[in-house]
């Protein structure tokens, strides 16, 4: 399996952005700093490869969608790109979590089979929740490290929901809209630090205009 060529954000250079940074430094005044990042930048290539494989990734998606289900407040975790984010992290900077997720989700699926005669994806929501509660409480006999798996997946789903959309999660800023985080900016005003009312969404990414909404 070869790794897809997707850019590491650490290495992305953006001449236009650096250019105005120099400009604002030369001026020596914060007043000239644009409120949001208006430069364009390289868009990350969508990962063409599934780090976990399709079947295990489907289990992950089903788990993620119970952690953040679709409801009146908005879409479920996978529709918000949480699984896409986790996949990208596993392919790039988070490869050390691969064995835990690979083995753990497989074991979770087998535990579902043993209890219900169906895989985790085919369980109904109540059955999935019951199994996840047991996993969180570390009482699934087949998974002695069940709570470790649960905590790690929980954390990664949070990252996928609420990280900069540049990484493939928080699709259309749906995660940030849910919790009221307006968006990444390069400067804030006192009006953005007022008590009492939710700020209007900005839908801005740290990585430029391709992710500034549609």
């Amino acid at each position: 399996m070869s790794k897809p060529e997707s850019p590491d954000p650490q290495r992305v250079t953006d001449p236009s952005r650096r250019q105005w940074l120099r400009g604002s430094l030369a001026a020596g005044s914060a007043a000239l700093i644009p409120l949001v990042n208006s430069g364009c930048s390289t868009t990350p290539a969508p990962a063409a490869v599934s780090a976990l494989g399709a079947a295990t990734e489907a289990v992950l998606a089903a788990v993620a969608d119970r952690l953040l289900p679709a409801d009146a407040l908005g879409p479920a975790a996978s529709a918000l790109g949480a699984v896409a984010y986790i996949n990208r992290s596993l392919l790039e900077w988070n490869q050390r979590d691969l064995p835990l997720l690979q083995n753990g989700l497989l074991a979770l699926n087998e535990a579902a089979h043993r209890r219900h005669g169906r895989g985790f994806v085919a369980l109904d929501a109540g059955e999935q929740d019951a199994l996840l509660m047991a996993l969180e409480g570390n009482t699934v006999a087949e998974l002695p490290e069940g709570s470790t798996l649960f905590n790690r997946v929980h954390r990664l789903v949070l990252e996928g929901l609420f990280s900069d959309p540049w990484y493939g999660g928080n699709r259309d800023f749906g995660g940030w809209d849910l919790i009221g985080y307006p968006g990444a900016v390069l400067a804030s005003t006192t009006d953005m630090q007022r008590l009492g009312q939710r700020l209007a969404p900005l839908h801005t990414s740290a990585y430029g205009s391709e992710h500034d909404g549609h």
């Binding site: 650490q10 992305v12 990280s163 900069d164 919790i179 990444a184 700020l199």
Partner: protein
């Protein structure tokens, strides 16, 4: 293979971070030829710093890596255990070092911190000194360091409000601070509604809150802009150079004199001494070649762990146990803020949106009433205390990972989704930073098993349990809960976030300053007792950790050591 011998210079400074990056300035201004050896290289704000929680906090791309990542210390909690290597070093290498990504809270220690032992004996008696505590008075007092604190505030650039101007107290500042000769060069960082509210709430219950000092420009200063409060200061570099890290302050000033040469990617392996025990230079690797850099004097300004390790590794006929270790003191009296162990963070839920997404950790309100010896400890069973710090800058992943205060049955599912949708922007945390002291049960030495890629042993930390510091932190946490309640919080929980002992960015001691060579490694100016042309810079020389971040103190000490070295070399 022979090392390539370079021409002699006046001073080699090892490490161009928070301390070494300051020391080069007085040396270069005095006309000395200075070579700064840095294991990392220059960071590029446009490339390396991002308004991105994944970049800074999840992947830790600014805070970790480089040479430091290859020499992570091992750790254990008792001498009969095998120490295990920690997963990640909280250190990195770059010109500017940790000052690039620190919170930039920039403090003078309280005068009490310099004389904890004698002050405790005077006020409470010997029974109040914690069991096993090896604390001594520093070999200098606050008054001796005051001019150097002033140098740092003006040369590095610190924003704040004086609370004690030559003895006149001003309640807008910290009335518990020691007297200062003049105001800060810049006013405090901009406030905001939440902080104004916290400040008023503290006043209402009789506390003495103030807006904390920060090595961040509150307005344009020396050609750098004021802070833009974008909310990604924590573990990130400043995209506009408003944070006064040494790579944008003292190091460029030193370079402008023409007397400083920065050598990047320099991996220092040994400090070289002659038969008389004097330092004569430094051996380092750079891009696969080994070099010997002779020098009239050496200043060691890496991080606490590498300071100790490099001295232990630099064995010779004159220093068979390592430089500064003839009395077995090297690595002893090692301590830091993790010794509080628990209760270091308090979280509160408010009934309205706080809008503290943006800002900076250093954009905060402080309370010193329960720190240091600012209150009567009679009957409390501990000395010292902690500062309380309410602040801004809340990143979205961390916000959504909030404590649910028991208001929903689980931290997932539809009920949780509704809870975070409403409350992720309505909670705040406060930091409890505790005075900590050295103990006989805590030290550093070389690990017998684990080695770095060059084959040298990594440092091993042994850190035993503490009683005094957790008590002081728990006491302060109760006060923080009272403050949050007074501010209208509807839920408050203490004791969150205490991780216990581990590797830390606030590692102190190991090369302690002192007058007595049998209980210290360095003298009153930071020079090794039995190697007087080798000075040590950084938190490793400090004998107590105040209830506050150490950087400005270790920078003031570094400037003072460099000044002393100028005198020494001129009279030589």
């Amino acid at each position: 293979m022979m090392a390539i011998e370079l021409p002699e210079t006046d001073v080699v400074v090892i490490g161009l971070g928070a301390s070494g990056g300051v020391a080069v300035l007085p040396l270069a201004r005095a006309g000395l030829r200075v070579i700064g050896l840095e294991a990392g290289t220059w960071m590029d704000p446009g490339r390396d710093y991002r308004a991105d929680e994944v970049h800074n906090n999840v992947r830790a791309l600014v805070t970790t890596g480089g040479k430091a990542a290859s020499e992570v210390p091992t750790f254990r909690t008792a001498a009969d255990q095998v120490a295990r290597q920690q997963a990640r070093h909280p250190m990195m290498n770059a010109v500017g070092g940790t000052s690039i990504h620190y919170h930039a809270q920039s403090w003078r220690l309280n005068p009490w911190d310099f004389r904890v032992r004698s002050a405790t004996l005077e006020r409470y008696g010997a029974a109040y000194l914690p069991a096993g505590c090896t604390v001594e008075d520093w070999p200098l007092g606050y008054d001796e360091l005051e001019p150097y604190y002033d140098h740092i505030e003006y040369e590095v650039g610190v924003s704040g409000k004086a609370g004690n101007l030559r003895g006149t107290l001003d309640p807008a500042g910290n009335i518990f601070e020691g007297p200062r000769q003049r105001e800060y060069p810049m006013p405090p960082l901009r406030s905001c509604d939440y902080l104004d509210h916290m400040l008023a709430s503290a006043r209402a219950i009789g506390l003495h809150p103030y807006r904390g000092p920060a090595a961040i420009n509150s307005r344009p200063y020396e050609g750098r802009p004021g802070c833009a409060f974008h909310g990604y200061c924590d573990r990130g570099g400043c995209h506009i150079r408003a944070k006064s890290s040494t790579d944008v302050t003292t190091i460029p000033k030193a370079l402008a004199t023409g007397n400083l040469t920065v050598v990047d990617h320099a991996n220092v392996r040994r400090i070289v001494t002659d038969n008389s025990g004097r330092a004569v230079g430094v051996r380092y690797f750079r891009h696969g070649e080994e070099y010997l850099q002779p020098a009239r004097a050496v200043l060691l300004g890496t991080y606490t762990y590498e300071n100790i390790r490099l001295l232990l590794l630099s064995r010779s006929q004159g220093h068979p146990e390592g430089i500064g270790n003839s009395r077995g003191q090297l690595g002893r009296h090692y301590f830091g803020h993790w010794d509080a162990q628990a209760g270091v963070s308090v979280a509160a839920l408010f009934p309205r949106d706080l809008n503290i997404w943006y800002g900076a950790i250093a954009q905060g309100v402080m309370v010193d009433d329960w720190a240091d010896d600012n209150f009567d400890h009679g009957g409390l069973g501990f000395i010292g205390g902690a500062t309380l710090h309410a602040y801004t800058e809340k990143h979205p992943i961390a916000a959504a990972g909030m404590n649910t205060f028991g208001r929903v049955p689980r931290r997932w599912g539809s009920q949780w989704k509704q809870f975070v949708a409403e409350n992720a922007g309505r909670w705040a945390s406060a930091y409890i930073q505790t005075n900590t002291f050295p103990y006989a049960n805590t030290w550093c030495d070389l690990d017998p098993d684990v080695r770095d890629p060059h084959g040298d042993p990594v440092l091993r930390i042994t850190s035993g349990p503490k009683v005094n510091e957790p008590r002081a932190a728990a006491h302060a946490a109760i006060k923080m809960i009272e403050w949050f309640r007074a501010a209208g919080a509807i839920e408050v929980t203490g004791g969150q976030g205490g991780t216990g002992p581990a590797l830390s960015t606030h590692a102190h001691g190991g090369t302690r300053m002192g007058l007595d060579p049998s209980t210290s490694v360095t003298d009153a100016f930071g020079f090794v007792h039995d190697c007087s042309n080798l000075g040590v810079l950084g938190g490793s020389v400090m004998g107590t950790a105040g209830a506050r971040n150490p950087t400005q103190t270790l920078q003031a000490l570094a400037w003072r050591t460099a000044d002393k070295l100028v005198d020494k070399l001129r009279s030589a």
